[in-house]
């Protein structure tokens, strides 16, 4: 299933985890993201896809408060954020 998602994504990323938050509205993407990142180990990378227009500003603020690193952000109808767990 993860491979399927990888193929569907509109950017090439090498991530350990993939998270589909398309069609989710605030606060769901952030909630799912923090849940997912809790289960990851330090240094691992997660790619998140989301369509909520607030996602860009939310994920930037979230990364800052959580001390994570936003490696890449792709804008568009479906936004992609690539995040590294500290």
């Amino acid at each position: 299933m993860q491979e399927d998602m990888k193929n569907k994504m509109n950017v090439e990323v090498n991530a350990d985890e993939y998270l589909d938050c398309r069609d989710m509205k605030c606060p769901l993407p952030i909630v799912k993201l923090s849940k997912a990142i809790k289960q990851m180990t330090a240094g691992q990378i997660i790619a998140v896809e989301a369509s909520d227009p607030a996602f860009k500003s939310d994920v930037q603020a979230w990364v800052k408060t959580m001390g994570c690193e936003l490696l890449e952000f792709v804008e568009g109808p479906v936004q992609v954020a690539v995040i590294r767990k500290p």
Partner: protein, 209 residues
């Protein structure tokens, strides 16, 4: 002779100026040092003060029984929990209706039966603060939100609990409204004002909604 005396006066003047200069410098340095010491002391005090030791906590009082306001409250609660904060939501008065899973009449005094009859039956029955239009607004907004894939209040409360938000029902308000523990959703905490204050004192964010 006139020239000589004026020269002495100028010399005298210079000595006087030097003297005044050195006195002023000494005085200013002395006072500046005192001020510096005071600043250092105040800084040290500030670093020791409890404001710096606040927990990573958010405390929200949910008071309103309006669906829209409660949605805002629970979105903030889940959001805060998602950035790693300890979140408590104190639910009191009209907001208690949002925690109801059922309404019971049996064994209640007459006044409690009356309130039970008049209060909304649960999170899906709350009106909106504006454009409610005798309940039409509530139906309309629930429909629109579902269509736009937004979480309903009931779902948000559920999500909040899954993300570790502590929900505390106010015992006093429950008595006033004639609501029993059996009528509310399971696994709630119950408390009073002291519980809230203890949490609020240790919180970076406190809201009353």
């Amino acid at each position: 002779m006139g020239r000589q005396s004026s020269k002495t006066i100028m010399q005298l003047d210079r000595e006087l100026v030097d003297y005044i200069d050195s006195t002023i410098t000494a005085k200013v340095t002395e006072e500046l040092n005192a001020i510096r010491e005071q600043i250092a002391q105040t800084l040290a005090q500030c670093q020791k003060s409890p404001v710096q030791q606040l927990g990573n906590r958010a405390t929200i009082v949910a008071f309103s029984g309006d669906m829209d306001k409660l949605i805002a409250a629970f979105i903030i609660a889940t959001g805060a929990a998602s950035i790693g904060m300890d979140v408590s939501v104190y639910v009191t008065f009209w907001a208690l209706s949002a925690l109801k899973k059922t309404t019971r009449f049996k064994g209640k005094p007459f006044t409690d039966m009356l309130t039970a009859l008049m209060l909304p039956a649960g999170p899906n029955h709350l009106g909106t603060s504006k454009m409610n239009m005798l309940g039409a607004g509530q139906v309309f907004f629930n429909y629109v939100m579902k269509k736009k894939n937004m979480s309903s209040l009931a779902e948000l409360i559920d999500l909040a609990r899954q993300t570790g938000v502590r929900i505390i029902a106010c015992q006093t308000a429950m008595e006033v409204m004639g609501i029993t523990r059996e009528e509310l959703i399971d696994d709630l905490d119950f408390g009073g004002v002291a519980t809230y204050l203890a949490d609020a004192c240790d919180s970076k964010i406190t809201l009353f909604i």
